[in-house]
Amino acid sequence: MSPNETRVPITSEADIVTARQKGRSLAVELGFQGADLTLIATAISEVSRNIVEYAEGGEIILQPTNHGNRRGLSIVARDDGPGIPDVAQAMQYGYSSRRGLGVGLPGAKLLMDDFDIVSKAGVGTTITMKKWVRSNAR
């Protein structure tokens, strides 16, 4: 476990708020500004809700990341739910979900710079997404 990672257990809808608040404050520390903070918090909200809706529980793991001289925030959403049978379908914008608008996961992908999803039936789903601090202000 990396010393600077933050883990937020997600077991109920109340944890969604905690996860996005922790994500936002870490993003501030890393130098994100303005609308990027909102985009990050919103993306965390969408992937956290996915855990609450489809899995018994899971967690959000937040940590700083680097690539070359780029700095960023890495967000991992991990659950040990039933897994997503058809990831390609789930990633289609507008594909139905129980409580949302079919926007959740594809929406989170639109808000972040990198987005990767791995899902295995009976094992769970892991989403890894990243956003990079922009060198020039918006």
């Binding site: 809808e13 903070l37 918090a41």
Partner: protein
Amino acid sequence: MRVPILKQSHYLIASIQSVLSDADLLRLRDDLSERVGQYRSRGVIIDVTVLDVIDSFATRTLRAIAHMLRLRGAETVIVGIQPEVAFGMVQLGLTLEGIGTALDLEEGLAYLDQKTKRNLHVAK
């Protein structure tokens, strides 16, 4: 945290004071639907100025509230969507189609006055 709902003549004002969980939003929906009947309100203002995130669930719930209240005979206007939040909603492709929006409380009241004018006239 429960959202306080104030009665201002024939309008209701729901002034969101802190970030809301999904459950808080659903409670706001139920509270407003009940109060509109209780106070025979013609219009409802939902002030979202303090919200730093309006995600797909919040959008869906705000739409549901506006549609439910319209069925109950009241117009809804959402006021105070922050510029960053608006940007995020656009990025996500979220819309509040068919729902009134206004910059702030003052504009929201003006919006409702205009929207409910005809109804008030008919009521007399």
